[in-house]
């Protein structure tokens, strides 16, 4: 089970557009909402109303500041979830066979009834994509909403991961990255989609689209917005002069 397949029929995954993401965390909330009440153990929270709340999430949004050598710094919102790596180190370290990568679509899943909660897979993942549920003692991770994407009880437009479905900015895309003709593959080719930590040799399926370069001229309308009346006339002009004389 924990031997990785040499080939998967599809490479389902996400393409995340760092240019478009506004950092609203809607994907985080919808992910938690869907996955806490569907496949597997619920995503528990510890001390949720206390001073130090924590809990299990399968998707989190970091925000970074990038400072170029010259020019203004830029804020980049950065959603992070399982990248469903082709060479997933989390799968091979699993001692029980609970972790596996599916041959049919490449999704990396955890069979929770086999998971002993040793945490080794979370150590093996460079990205912090796996979190141990503190209430259940089993490893939780993004399932690519495997219980939505093939679910014929849902309307067709809902058969995509909850995070993609909910993103109000359209910054998340779902599809087969193994098919060069798919929309997501074309998007990756067009925008220079990249791997995270390629030096780790994990060959992530999910790709990130880098932010587009900022326009040099900040606002093309600015020249048209200069004040048209420099000198006050009429009643306001008289008031201005009178007040200046008094003051």
């Amino acid at each position: 089970m924990t031997q990785l397949p040499t080939h998967t029929e599809k490479k389902l995954g996400l393409v995340i557009d760092l240019d478009t993401c506004v950092g609203c965390h809607a994907c985080v909330v919808s992910c938690k909402g869907w996955n806490t009440e569907n496949y597997g153990a619920p995503l528990s929270d510890q001390n949720p109303y206390g001073a130090d709340p924590s809990g299990t999430f399968l998707n989190r949004v970091h925000s970074y500041e990038v400072t170029p050598d010259e020019g203004a710094a830029m804020t980049v919102h950065f959603p992070k979830s399982c990248l469903h790596c082709e060479d997933a180190p989390c799968v091979t370290v699993c001692p029980t066979g609970a972790s596996y990568k599916r041959v049919e679509d490449g999704i990396v899943l955890v069979n929770e009834s086999d998971c002993i909660g040793c945490g080794l897979c979370a150590w093996a993942c460079p990205y912090g994509a796996r979190e141990m549920d503190q209430a259940e003692g089993v490893m939780k991770k993004c399932t690519l909403c495997v219980d939505r994407i093939y679910n014929e009880n849902l309307p067709e437009e809902d058969r995509e991961p909850a995070c993609v479905r909910t993103c109000p900015a359209g910054a998340r895309h779902f599809g087969d990255l193994g098919d060069a003709e798919s929309d997501v593959s074309k998007l990756v080719a067009e925008r220079g989609g990249m791997d995270l930590m390629p030096e780790q040799g994990t060959k992530p399926v999910n790709k990130y689209l880098p932010p587009r370069p900022k326009d040099e001229q900040v606002d093309i309308l600015a020249p048209f917005l200069e004040p048209v009346a420099q000198e006050a006339k009429g009643f306001l002009g008289w008031l201005d002069k009178t007040l200046e004389r008094i003051g």
């Binding site: 089970m1 924990t2 031997q3 950092g23 130090d52 709340p53 924590s54 809990g55 299990t56 999430f57 989190r60 949004v61 970091h62 925000s63 970074y64 500041e65 990038v66 400072t67 170029p68 050598d69 710094a73 830029m74 804020t75 980049v76 950065f78 992070k80 180190p89 091979t92 370290v93 001692p95 029980t96 066979g97 086999d114 998971c115 002993i116 909660g117 040793c118 945490g119 080794l120 979370a122 150590w123 093996a124 993942c125 460079p126 990205y127 912090g128 979190e131 141990m132 549920d133 503190q134 259940e136 003692g137 089993v138 995270l196 930590m197 390629p198 030096e199 780790q200 990130y208 880098p210």
Partner: protein
Amino acid sequence: MHPAPSIIFFTVFSGIGFGLLAFLGLGMPDYTGFTAFIFFLIAYVFAVGGLISSTFHLGNPQRALKAFTQWKTSWLSREGCLSVAALSVMGLYAIGVVFLDTHWKLLGLLGAALSLATVFGTSMIYTQIKTVPRWSHWTTPVLFLLYAIAGGAFVAGQTSIAAPLLLALGAFQCVTWFIGDKQFAASDSTIETATGLGHMGKVRMFEAPHSSKNYLMEEMVYVVGRKHVRTLRITGILCLSLLPYVLLVVPPFHHLISFVALLLHIAGALMTRWLFFAEAEHTVGLYYDQR
């Protein structure tokens, strides 16, 4: 990495236990009968006690037997299988030594080899973790085997072997720290490669994804206690290697002095093993701009 007490206890004691079993398998010491029984008892208490302790950090220990199934890819599974093989073979060997007054040499050799292979298996659990550059290095298995052999020789009463091994262990632990301190920088992973934003400029975290700590940070971004590293390293080496060495080689020789030396050695091993975890930096820390 989070230094879980159960794992520190497990690696230190099972290491010494399997080291002792290796020496017993080689007929060092070659006692038989009740004296041999006491030696085997100590070895099994250390080795099995350590293994049991390792299950305390599991989320669902009731399914632990499933961990014997994935030996084809998983070092944790291999270690489990090797430990059972070593304990079984050495158990048979012990029957001959304790009850039949005979040393089945070939069986003993096999048991010794399996015992050391178990320690190697334990070390590979850490060595295979590429995300922790400090561990993912050839020094890790050498270090674990040295701990086991030195500790094993010590408990086996093989003073002439144990004394030089203690010095070698101390020296090699220092070498490992020296190399390990540079490993993360040498691994090429930075906040820029982690975010893929390096081509745009210098990256720093602007806002964390959550307001308080989570599992990832507790488990893999363990930064507490690192400020005491220097003191702990010096104390650790003194207790682990230098003080026990002096107590072993400088007269007067007495069992009580050797026992004190052994206690110091174990205390030192626990300290340095704590550092093994606490000092290890995981790549996920890059996403939090922390190591």
